[in-house]
């Protein structure tokens, strides 16, 4: 059973965002990290890079597989979690905390409204996974 936190918004690509003002923190969900297995490498964009919603911003690699990270919202990257270079396992151990990936200053904060709530994401998982 996946850990889903009710206070976050979710994408169908298995990213989560947490919003504070116009800045969204982005990471991958418990379901995604579980499906990948042991994460060994995370490739992230640089601060200052800009992306449209649903663009690939980097990738997460486990021993067995690689998966792209898509940003659910558009904007400018204002901070990246450099700590996961040295501790990629935090994506497995604490995907909603220490395993966060980027902070994005959103062009259009309303974009998160289109994302799934925890309940909706859970329903999406049971229907599709």
């Amino acid at each position: 059973m996946s850990n889903i936190q009710e206070n976050l918004r979710y994408s169908k690509d298995h990213e989560w965002v947490s919003v504070e003002g116009d800045v969204a923190t982005v990471g991958i969900t418990d379901y995604a990290q579980e499906a990948l297995g042991d994460v060994v490498y995370v490739e992230l964009p640089k601060s200052g890079d800009t992306f449209a919603a649903h663009e690939a911003v980097g990738s997460v690699e486990s021993v067995k597989a690689v998966s792209e990270i898509f940003t659910p919202i558009g904007g400018e990257v204002v901070e990246v979690n450099d700590a996961i270079n040295d501790a990629p396992e935090s994506v497995n151990n604490d995907c909603y905390g220490a395993g966060w990936m980027i902070k994005v200053k959103m062009n259009n904060p309303g974009e998160t409204d289109a994302m799934l709530s925890g309940v909706e994401y859970e329903e999406y998982l049971s229907a599709n996974a």
Binding site: V40, Y41, V63, K64, V66
Partner: protein, 366 residues
């Protein structure tokens, strides 16, 4: 998923939290709840337990068992003594590899072949077709057997508690028949991890008993059940070939650094003339080990670029959990197949630097 084949341990894997995948038509655990890194490290440092019951077993009995198998495999079966096994290859007329296999000699008229899971039907058809006038009985006995591998520095100690057979008397690539937890077994000092350990073959109906007993007995030593992902990273660190990656119908064993199992002077065998010619004229390409210099992970099938040209391909690439490096095996043109040669790996469009290094990447201390 309905048509996937199952080993006798399928339910046990699920109960242990195994993440099941379709592996060449078999429903197998790719990892358990501990995860691939923990499983890999347990095997290097303590012990790992692997269900390899999907592998194929073929009995070859009869007066011509040795000359027959010698005529279709590359290694020299006449050199085996009773209780000994060797690694070998089944080759086609083009000198390509139909499969790699273990050949066990029980007696002069009794051999036992262990082949890969996904290739066993192809192997069986090929071997049967080559029988000709040889005085042999062939039996495809895969469903009769389970095979459980216990590998790692603690493997011997753990298994010894379950058998009266003196395991210290079984040398590497030798085997004995005996009882494990009261179950008659073939106890073979072989493996696919680069560690010391054993592969135990027994009646398929005893698989669950043997598996549970070995796990239980090794609990204090920290034994972990290991899935296919760890099996792959362990063999890759040890630079052992995997069929369909480093070996295939159009890959010569000489290219794959398996010259040591190609006894070209032993007499005629299928593909020998081609291999002999390759040896005389030299190879075009060779399998090498490489290590990533820039951050990034090479994966199977990624192109190898040298001086801006695609000149090779990664056959297996992965993070190496024990070595903590990103490594791989690749075919490159012979002229570049030298330790220290810099190459580029095309990682999804980015050319990342790697360097050719000696293999095996990992060698256990004896």
């Amino acid at each position: 998923m309905e048509n996937l084949k199952k080993t006798p341990l399928n339910e046990v894997h699920r109960a242990l939290g195994g993440k099941m995948v379709d592996f060449g038509g078999w429903d197998m655990p790719v990892q358990y709840s501990a995860g691939v890194i923990a499983e890999h490290l347990a095997t290097r440092e303590k012990a790992g337990l692997f269900d390899v019951s999907h592998m194929g077993e073929i009995h070859v009995d009869g007066a011509d068992a040795i000359p027959f198998i010698n005529s279709i495999t590359t290694n020299d079966v006449t050199k085996l003594v009773d209780g000994q096994a060797h690694y070998s290859a089944l080759t086609n007329e083009r000198g390509g590899v139909i499969d790699d296999l273990l050949v066990y000699r029980f007696a002069e008229n009794k051999l036992f072949l262990v082949v890969n899971a996904g290739t066993q039907d192809k192997d069986w058809d090929w071997i049967s077709s080559k029988r000709g006038d040889f005085d042999v009985d062939l039996r495809h006995a895969s469903v009769d057997y389970c095979q459980i591998a216990i590998q790692g520095p603690k493997a011997t100690e753990i298994l010894q508690r379950l058998t009266k057979t003196d395991l210290s008397a079984i040398k590497y690539y030798h085997f004995a028949t005996g009882e494990v937890d009261g179950v008659s077994s073939i106890i073979s000092r072989t493996g696919y991890t680069g560690e010391d350990g054993f592969e135990v073959y027994a009646d398929a109906t005893k698989a669950v008993q043997l598996w549970n007993k070995m796990l239980q007995t090794g609990n204090g030593e920290g034994i972990l059940p290991c899935g296919l992902a760890a099996r792959n990273t362990l063999r890759l660190e040890s630079a052992m070939s995997l069929y369909g990656h480093e070996l295939g119908d159009d890959i010569s064993p000489l290219e794959a650094n398996l010259g040591w199992i190609c006894k070209l002077n032993k007499g005629e065998f299928v593909g020998r003339d081609v291999l002999l010619k390759q040896k005389e004229e030299g190879l075009d390409r060779k399998l090498v080990g490489f290590e990533m210099v820039e951050p990034g992970i090479a994966r199977d099938g990624f192109p190898v670029m040298i001086h801006g040209e695609k000149l090779g391909v990664v056959t297996s690439g992965s993070p190496a959990p024990y070595l903590k490096k990103n490594i791989g095996l690749a075919f490159v043109p012979l002229e570049f197949a030298n330790v220290g040669q810099e190459i580029k790996i095309d990682v999804r469009g980015r050319l990342l630097t790697a360097v050719i290094v000696p293999t095996p990447f990992y060698k256990r201390e004896k």
